[in-house]
Each structure stands twice: as C-alpha cells, then as structure tokens.
Amino acid sequence: MGLNLEITLGKIKLNSPLILCSGIFGFGNENIKFIDERKIGAIVTKTITYEPWPGNPQPRIYETNYGMINRIGLQNPGVFYFMRNIFPKLRKKYKRVFVSISGRSEKEFVEIIKIVSKKRIDAIELNLSCPNFENEKKMISQSSELTFKIVKSVKNETDIPVIVKLTPNVTEIKEIAISAEEGGADILSLINTIKGLAVDFKKMRVIDGGLSGPSIKPVGLKCVYDVYKVVNIPIIGMGGITCGLDAIEYFLVGASAIGIGSGFYSNPQIIDDIYKTLKNFLRKNKFKSIREMIGLLNEKKENF
C-alpha cells in the first residue's frame, strides 16, 4: 500500500501525525523500546526552564476515574544542561525534535529562546500553562494580553516555528487562541492538563494538580473543535487519546496532528496501535491522506 501518514504543520513536514506530548516521555532520552521512531512525527521534550528546577515534593501523581493527576512541577536540569547533554541525543534519534520551554518572566523566555535557537531544533513549543508568571496569579495562557505579548517577543527572537500550548482552564479558549495567532504563533497545541484534585484517603491529603487521560477527551475535542473555527494555523490535538479512534475524532474536529500523552503509560504499544488504525481507516474510507479528514465534522469557519 502506497498509503502514508505524512502531514504538514505549517512549514514543517512530518512523516507521521503522531507527536509525543511534552512531559510524557521524560527528556526523550530514555531508551524505550516501545517507541518506534519511524511512526513518530515528532517528539516534544519535557518543558525546559532557564535554571534547573527540582520539581515538586511528593505526592506528585494520583489516579482518578479514567485518568490521572500530576503535579511534577517541571523537574528539569535547566536549558544549558539540556542543550549540551540531552538534546544531541534526541537530534540523532528523532527526525523532528520540538523543544518545550517555559519561563517565569518575559526576559527568561527570551533568554531561553536565544540559547535553544543556536541548535537545529524543528520547533519551539511554548508551555504557557506555567503558574507564577511575574507574580501574576494566572498562567500566561489564561490571559489574551500576556499570551500575545510572550508569543510576540519570542517570535521576534527566532526564526524557528513556534508552537503555543494552551490551558483549557479559561473562560473562552477561542480568544486566547486568536491572541496567540495574532502574536505570531505558527501552530497551536491543545490542550494541556485541566486543573483537578484528588483525595488520598490513606494519607488523608489532597493531590492538587493537572488532570489528564481518557476522562478529559471531551474537553480536548471541544477546545480543538472551537478553536479550529477561528484560527488559520494548524492545531496539534491532545487530551485523553488512548486508541486510533480517539485520534480520528481529533482529526475530524480540526486537528492536523495528535499528541500522545498519558495514554502511553496505560498502553506503551499505543503508537503502533494508533498508527495501524489510522492506516486502516484511511484505506477503508478511501482517504488519500490524513489531511482529507481534518475538520470534516466542523461547521464552516466562524467569525469571532
């Protein structure tokens, strides 16, 4: 079968629409047998910050109904260490490497961009769901203004395509998505985890973090569906994908690529499984490429 699963994200060509989500695969340098690089469009690194961060104390994770909550807290060795010691391995291993970054100030964002832009990375993903930004009580992507501002300064600093990853914890994600596009975003990643909380009865404590997994799929689909109608840049859809049909749902409501997240922990062979289902689906429905199913279930674009 000549069928292939190639897609494009703006100017970036990927040989598969399957993208490994930020934070799910550590720094990407673990030797995980289950990841077949040929079936992967790109890997997004765990979010990297300027200085090394230790991450949060325990508890960091807890299971929920068809999902999990995490509050890892961006444990990472800092951008210098990362670019020097980890990035080169990723570069060799994956055809496309997207580096996820976050900062506590506009200045930090710019500094990090300068450093990562020196190497051949395929895209930068801005994780704008980091709390404690410049002493605001909000995440950046909870404010249209901040989103616009940060995206714009980052775009001024680099020629590398910029992906903007948004939180679903907003009143109207369409507004934020438009601001990101206006700021110059090349691609959007939807969605980051949803604010959630679990109770650990045994230890009588709460785990207050970000919810991911199958239970959030309807929220991810809704965000992609809504945002697709109002922007003209491609969307990487994610949130609760555990099988090929989930991935197809995201394409049908407007995603150009999909992110594999915590579903990998449940089924580490998820990549092979999705890849196979996608091929079969294209064949059965006589689609020639993934592109043909993108947004099929969306009404026409709307003016917002």
Partner: protein, 248 residues
C-alpha cells in the same frame, strides 16, 4: 523492558489478604531480584507495580496484598485468563558471592526477598533471612526454600520470636557482610543506621504512573553533595543504598 500478554497459571489465596499469582513466562529477558512488573488491571488507567517473587524459564510469580481497587480486581482473575504485563522494570539487588548476608523484611516486602534469597544462595552465600509477620498464618511457609537460615518473628508471638523483626535482627549475634531489606518504611529507615559499616540495600515503594522512568512521578529524595536530588523509584530504583535516601 517488554510488554507481554501473559496467561495466568495460578492465582491463589495464601492467607488473609495475601495472594500468590503465577504467570506464564513469555518474556525474552531474564528478571533479576528487585525487578518488578507493571500490571494493567481492568479499567484502572494506571498500571500497578509488583515485585518479582519467583522467576524461572516457565513462570513469573508475585505475592500481592489486596489493598484497593486494582488488587481487588486482580484477586478475581482466574487461571486461564490473561494479564497485560510490562517488565522487567527497575533495577535489582547487587549480588555478592560467598558472603554472610542478611535478608530482612516483612509484609509484601517478603516478595522480592524470596527471589533474592534463592539467587544469593546459588552464589554461595550464607543466607540469614529475618522474616517478620503479624501472625503465624501470614508466614508463607510453602514459599520458603531449603538451605537458608530463617529467623521468624510475629507481632503476636504466634510463631518465632514475639515482636518486631528489626529488634530480633538487632540482637542477633552474627556479623553480616551485606544487608538486604524490603517492607514497611519504618523498618527500612531503621536499617539505614547499619549502612555506615556495611552495604545495606533496600527496595522502596512509591506510587507510580509510567514505571518506565518517564513521568518523574515516583521520585524520592537522594543525597547529593549537601542537598538532595529527586530520583525515580521505578528506574533508578526500586533498590537503593539505604545510606543514600533522605526520608521524609
């Protein structure tokens, strides 16, 4: 690490809440004492980690205690059904040769130690196994091996010495060259004091998501210079030198 769908050969109640599960071994890799498997059980989103208690060419065995949703579902699985297994996960106990070694544990901590004792014996060690339990019926005699020196204690004195296994060990006359431990955190903490003089290796547990070293969810604090760093129980452990750990 491999993922296999394994047939259940046996899933029997040992006593109380404790069960013994034996799976058909269709893994290519050799499992070592300290390694664990990560089992997908029913509709629980996350897998559940269990130490290897038994391993040979045909079989993989774990001992588990029913404590919650997952283990309660596991209990109901029957011979002939299949389970989705990830393994071998984590690191393993370093194996010395021809030494006088101490193994000490209680509760579900017994599981990896049984496998460990077998291998240590094979390598010519003189093995003393300090085995603590709440009650005589929680000592799994049928899983014990010959050629190993068992010292038992029970909380209620129904078998062996009465009291805590650590106290029994503390008052024991022999000098050990290596100590291996697994079980309740309080026991592991106490073992740490011996690590100034001899190697003390312990297997620790933590809540896990991936079990593959990816999510950084299972970290514990490990000494580093004057401070600490977070290390992953699932990948850098579950076996650590007792001296490295900073207990909460």
């Amino acid at each position: 690490m491999e993922r296999k769908i394994c047939k259940i050969l046996k899933n029997e109640n040992l006593s109380g809440n404790y069960y013994f599960l034996i799976l058909e071994n269709n893994f290519k890799k050799i499992f070592k004492p300290g390694n664990f498997i990560h089992i997908k059980i029913g509709n629980n989103f996350l897998r559940r980690p269990f130490s290897i208690a038994l391993f040979d060419r045909e079989k993989i065995g774990i001992i588990y205690k029913v404590v919650g949703k997952g283990t309660d579902e596991l209990r109901k699985k029957k011979k002939g059904e299949f389970l989705d297994i990830l393994g071998p996960c984590g690191n393993f106990f370093p194996i010395y040769k021809n030494k006088k070694v101490c193994i000490i544990g209680g509760g579900t901590g017994i599981a990896p130690l049984i496998f460990l004792s077998k291998v240590l014996k094979k390598y010519g060690n003189d093995v003393y196994f300090f085995y603590g339990a709440r009650d005589k019926n929680l000592i799994f005699f049928k899983l014990l091996l010959t050629g190993i020196n068992y010292i038992f204690s029970t909380d209620n004195g129904s078998y062996g010495k009465k009291g805590n296994i650590f106290d029994v060990f503390k008052n024991f006359e022999e000098n050990f060259q290596v100590i291996y431990g697994a079980g309740p955190e309080i026991l592991l903490k106490k073992l740490s004091i011996y690590s100034e003089n001899i190697p003390v290796y312990i297997s620790v547990e933590n809540y896990m998501a991936c079990g593959m070293g990816l999510c950084y969810g299972c970290v514990i604090r490990i000494r580093k210079n004057n401070g600490y760093e977070y290390k992953r129980v699932c990948k850098d452990g579950p076996v650590f030198k007792a001296s490295e750990i900073i207990w909460d």
